[in-house]
Amino acid sequence: MARLNSVSDLDALRKDILSRRDPKKTKVSVCSGTGCRAYDSEKVIESLKSGLNTHGLNDKVDLVTTGCHGFCELGPVMVIYPEGIAYFKIKPDDVDEIITGTLSQGKVVDRLLYVDQEGNVQVKEHDIPFYKHQNRVVFGNNQLIDPENIDDYLALDGYQALATCLGSMSPEEVLETVKKANLRGRGGGGFPAGQKWEATRNAPGDVKYVIVNADEGDPGAYMDRSILEGNPHSVLEGMLIGAYAIGCQKGFIYIRQEYPLAVEHLDRAIEQMRELGLLGDNILGTGFDFEISVHRGAGAFVSGESSALMSSIEGKVGEPRPKYIRTSISGVHGCPSDLNNVETWANVPVIINKGVDWFTAIGTEGSKGTKIFSLVGKVNNTGLVEVPMGMKLHDIIFKIGGGIRDGKKFKAVQTGGPSGGVIPENMLDLPVDFDALDKVGSMMGSGGMIVMDEETCMVDVAKYFLEFLADESCGKCVPCREGITQMLHILKMICAGEGQPGDLELLEEVAAMTKECSLCALGQSAPNPVLSSLRYFQAEYEAHVNDKCCPAHVCKDLITYHIDPAKCKGCGKCLRNCAVGAISGTKKEPHIIDLDKCTKCDTCFMVCPPKFSAVTKLSGKESIA
């Protein structure tokens, strides 16, 4: 590829690429992201390649292997353009029918279409509720782009925003634009990016850095991975624009080791940029110089914290350090350093290309644009969803997520990752908005969203998150290390039926101290799961402590298994499946569980045929009665 020496060189290249592309031509987009690869999408792609070959369709059909489309649970996922036909759970064996049917004769393969819980079938991707209610400003191009082919990015206005900035805007104008757009950090705190850029720009020093935070330590979250895997150039372009506005020549990408595909695509993208002269000296002939180095993190949750991340880039232990001087003033090697999240950077080219007014028209007063969430848990549709800020939690969970699985009732949703908080049903009208979520004791965080149904015990949930945080605390400061340890210990006792009066007050005391006194944001936010569940589900805690009852029938030590003689038809299924022989009974007579032998493995509850549902779990007073 020839080096681009000017903005017009870039324009010419883009024109050339577009001239060789026919928008009406059939395009098959197959996901090859990490999620779909786990379902063998590679094999599907291989069969497609050879199938197109043998059917002589290579000239008529473009095959694009893309990054994540978001609906990973139904992978491998395929979309056929221009019609937008969407196929799911494709097996290599299905490929032949797709080629001979859909691609050759326009016939839809019914069994690969999306079917919702009510049995409604959708042919087109944009009619599927999971996609229909999204607004995929940042994520939408994923399915149109082969991440290893920079031409695909260029064809979709890639590096146009950079060219605009370098060619016709001063750094101050770029900064003003991002400030006016009120782009807030997507990685956790929601700090205004423009303000951080400005602080870094104004900080004294000749050497300054921009950094991409791709550590993504939040378990269950994978939006940053999916952006980097699927559209790495969007992040790189954002980073270059930021560097230009701030006035730096050097950037770091801190990415977790466990993301091999993202690293591979990133490395490839950087190589391509270098070939085109989009990295290095005198980029697009505008005198702007920039270099990037990719840093692989060991993958501890705390290394995503800004000061720990910067220590790690310096080659030191990735431990948070005292930070009353902001990293925008003194970061990597004491130089002013601007750190932003992957998704934050990916928003930057969008803002430049579409303009401040367009961007700020999306969202709420204080939170502009969109946010990508990782929607998981007990919802029918799980995956990555990008929604306008301000969308109600209810709409995300019920419209996009399709409601709760198996017809169960909604109980709570945890937003903000392990150190976020739970939000109860009567607050489902809450809009996703940085400030609104903060106010109710949770947070936006990086966009984790775990939906819980009525069979979830909130004490158990708090315990689960604290277990994670206890493992991930770096152990440096007392409030976090000792505070989490003891809160976890108390929660364990409560779940084990050893709760005592005063435990809840003690939890609150320790939580308040840990929140206020911890050194870094991990400790400062670690009490959130405890405090929010105490706030909204206090009765459930009290039931555990006072009545030794787990109302959701989750805490093993507080429940017993019984067979309802009125419902049991003596089919014997439970008896045959009980591993410890705790069930006895003769055929066609009600069976009985010997509580002394029962290990509470839940097997009988699971295997008893739904038409009988004779096995019940009892807790607290229920079991005495």
Binding site: R481, G483, A512
Partner: protein
């Protein structure tokens, strides 16, 4: 050096710009408790006993005084009910790692152990004073931390020890004097140190609690 005006507990104080709140307070004879601070070493911010409240009204905020630098007009409170409550909770928690915390400190903040907390009596509060002394003052890096969270502990790196201890500290282990709990000079890391006693040639160890420190030091040729 320029001076700035700060108010600590209602008292107007002039102090050198660039000092931490802790240094300014101590200079003015105002007590703030600390467990991980030493004037010879860089502030570390791990014990959080030194927290104070700064600012006024809505904008009050809690900061570690050993790290926060003073500026003109700063208003500091060192002994509010809230702060002392936090210190009490911190000490209550620490008592389950270190059950012979100096009585004066416990009494001042009415701290007491709580049988709802689980014991993890390592006698090391991970203040890092020993590690930092060895690193910052001696440049020897014989001591370090391993592990995260509750399993974090101080270790001695035997190879480093063989190389540095005898030359860096020829008159005895200087790091010993820095350990607030005395555990560093007990024979086994993680064992209760005898009150007021130090072993002449002991050293902090060790990944494995069962290793006898004296044996390791013998092996590396220290004693």
């Amino acid at each position: 050096m320029s001076q700035v005006n700060v108010t600590i507990n209602g008292e107007q104080i002039q102090a050198e710009k660039g000092l931490t709140i802790l240094e300014a307070a101590r200079g003015a004879g105002i007590y703030i408790p600390t467990l991980c601070h030493h004037e010879q070493l860089e502030s570390y911010g791990s014990c959080r006993l030194c927290v104070v409240e700064i600012g006024a009204g809505e904008r009050k905020k809690i900061v570690a005084s050993c790290l926060y630098h003073i500026s003109e007009g700063l208003v500091v409170e060192t002994e509010t009910e809230k702060i002392n409550g936090f210190r009490r909770t911190i000490l209550n928690l620490l008592m389950h790692r270190w059950d012979n915390i100096p009585a004066a400190l416990l009494e001042k903040y009415a701290a007491k152990s709580n049988d709802r907390f689980i014991d993890n009596m390592t006698y090391c509060i991970l203040c890092g004073l020993c590690v930092r002394y060895c690193h910052e003052v001696k440049g020897a890096n014989v001591l370090g931390f391993i592990g995260r969270g509750t399993i974090r502990q101080v270790v001695i790196f035997p190879n480093q020890s063989a190389k540095h201890c005898a030359t860096s500290c020829p008159d005895g282990m200087e790091c010993l004097n820095f350990c607030p709990t005395g555990v560093i000079s007990s024979q086994y890391y993680g064992k209760r140190p005898a009150d007021g006693q130090t072993l002449p040639h002991a050293h902090p160890i060790c990944i494995n609690e069962d290793i006898n420190i004296l044996e390791v030091l013998e092996r590396v040729g220290y004693v």
